[in-house]
Symmetry: C2
Subunit: 370 residues, 2 copies
């Protein structure tokens, strides 16, 4: 810390160099494979960090809500995909955005097209959500006839252009090593390729877009894919480390939490830092439920991960850390403990800003205010 910002409360620290390296590595990977790099900005939700992407040549982005699209459109982003089934109740926001930027919307039914069409006052691009095995949202990629019907409905509309297919292989989050990620990915892109082949002659410019950090981080086969939309890789987190997408060293964020109590008798440390700072995503790590992992505090930046030191539970404002006796013994009230979050997207969403290791404050969007 350069001392510009004194840390007194749970604070999201950002290692700018790690973050820039993560951005550069993914941009280079996309370029090497001839892919459009359309990063998902829902992870960082920051204009400043968005500009770091821009300086790497990124011009097209992904977001997860119309509010987030509006936030980035105001900073000069003019080609934005809202990778979320279109919310037809927000027609006003859709029309306002569509008037000034290239707005790419996502649909997964004819109903959505029919609700959108009569209300659109500016043209939008339409992606159809394909389910390639995740089973959360989208149309089963083998249902060619359903896709055909939706495409026809899009083509009939004067305000919509059919852009292609969008998938999210979210089941890659269940993987625990590179081989498993590759298997999920290969099955997923094989289904995307088949889907695209069915329509490429009629629509030669269609785009096949995929988007998860685990696959984009580790695979090297993007056959038939035109665009990638990973988001989490900008920071990574311990869930990604566990999946196999990154190493601990790649994780660019850490939450500095004040110690408020120390309990040597049960080898625990209580910190100010709870569910309202971390959210409540958790992983199982060596049989233990873990809400965050503890790293060394090196002059208020984070050092190495400490073995067997982890957040065992979170209340609204409290975090309870279980740690080896030797660590607890050296910890005092008023110290700052460095906690690597389980899920950096959710943690960042809860915070209003980042503080870099140089002490610079970086603002971000506050989700609840829009």
């Amino acid at each position: 810390m350069g001392g510009k910002t004194k840390i007194t409360k749970p604070t999201l620290l950002l290692d700018k160099n790690k973050c820039l390296a993560n951005i550069k590595a993914m941009a280079e990977k996309a370029s090497k494979h001839g892919l459009v790099f359309r990063p998902h900005f829902k992870t960082h939700q920051s204009l400043e960090i968005g500009r770091w992407f821009r300086s790497q040549g990124v011009e097209q982005i992904t977001v997860s809500s119309l509010s987030m699209a509006g936030y980035f459109a105001n900073d000069g982003w003019i080609d934005i995909t809202v990778a979320f089934p279109v919310n037809v109740l927000e027609m006003e926001a859709i029309n306002q955005l569509a008037e000034k930027i290239t707005l790419n919307l996502l649909v997964e039914s004819i109903d959505a097209i029919e609700l959108l069409n009569p209300q659109l006052t500016s043209s939008v691009n339409i992606f159809i959500k394909a389910d390639t095995g995740y089973g959360r949202t989208g149309i089963d990629s083998t249902q060619t006839f359903t896709f055909q019907k939706i495409i026809e409905a899009v083509e009939k509309s004067k305000m919509m252009d059919f852009s292609g297919f969008l998938a999210h292989a979210g089941h890659s989050y269940k993987c625990r090593n590179v081989r498993e990620i590759e298997e999920v990915h290969n099955r997923s892109i094989a289904r995307m390729m088949q889907l695209k082949e069915n329509f490429i002659y009629a629509y030669p410019n269609i785009i096949a877009s995929i988007g998860d950090t685990p696959t984009c981080s580790v695979v090297d086969n993007f056959e038939g894919i035109d665009e990638i939309r990973p988001g989490n890789f900008v920071f990574f987190d311990i869930m990604q480390q566990q999946i196999g997408s990154c190493s601990f060293n790649d994780i660019a964020v850490v939450v500095a939490c004040p110690v408020v109590a120390v309990h040597p008798e049960r080898s625990e440390i209580v910190v100010y830092g709870g569910g309202v700072h971390f959210s409540k995503d958790k992983i199982e790590d060596e049989g233990k439920v873990t809400f965050g992992k503890v790293a060394e505090n090196k002059n208020n930046a984070r050092g190495k991960v400490i073995e067997n030191a982890f957040v065992k539970s979170l209340s609204q404002e409290h975090g309870i850390i279980s740690a080896p006796e030797s660590v607890v013994k050296e910890t005092n009230i008023g110290d700052l403990v460095m906690i690597l979050p389980v899920h950096s997207c959710m943690t960042a969403d809860l915070m209003s800003h980042y503080v870099t290791l140089e002490g610079e404050r970086i603002e971000k969007r506050v989700n609840s205010l829009e």
Copy 2:
């Protein structure tokens, strides 16, 4: 809805009448038992709702952070307990508050007293956190000697006054009926009574304060207790219903979520409403992991709870609802689904405001901005 606010995004609806009834019932219960009613405001975090308490005669409140204390102090609350182990890194906030209000702080070690004492510029009251069986924070209530040492350290300080003991029987959250809650409560207050008895002759004015919604809602024995600090009861939620603290009918909040996709083939509805709106607390209900329960939409207020309709998973912005075929069949894109949250404190924390059934917007504190 009176139509003053059009709902287009996930929106936290508040049934003001239910909320007022919950406040009134708890205030009357405290009064009946001769207890000081010091409600925890971390659940609602709203100045307006705070005033509803004031109109029921409440003059003393509880919060979970110094930032929250500052927020309410600015609205004329002059006696505030921060029921969280004191964060000594926030001395500036402590001194500013202590100068203008009666500030009650919580400690659980001599270390905290020794760090506080030389830095205090105005006087504060000190509660000592007693662990009566929960095991999260506090000093085991049977460790009389440790309490004695802390009390002596407090008494030696010119800036601190010893106020009493504070406990939170958080293990009542594991209960599933009134009998279990009563058992936890009776064990907990027996320990508080013993602790108080050890010190009452030396300090005749000490206060024994307890605080969880399950016990305060259902028990009728407060022997030896002087003050209660429940918070969640102001809204309740499905976790409290499951514990046995309330009925579905008492729950005063519901999140209205736009439907963005309907999947009859898997009997699912996809809504705009995810972890960034609900947080990710969950319960097990009839063997199924549940992130929220679906109620009928009666003119954009909530009706009865729908059997077997629940949120089965949450992503950052998506909620996936599993519902009976008949319900899915009648649901359309653009409808609003009413979801009762698992944990209303966490859900409210994520939102910037409430909308009453009459369409009135009620502002609240946004945690991340302070």
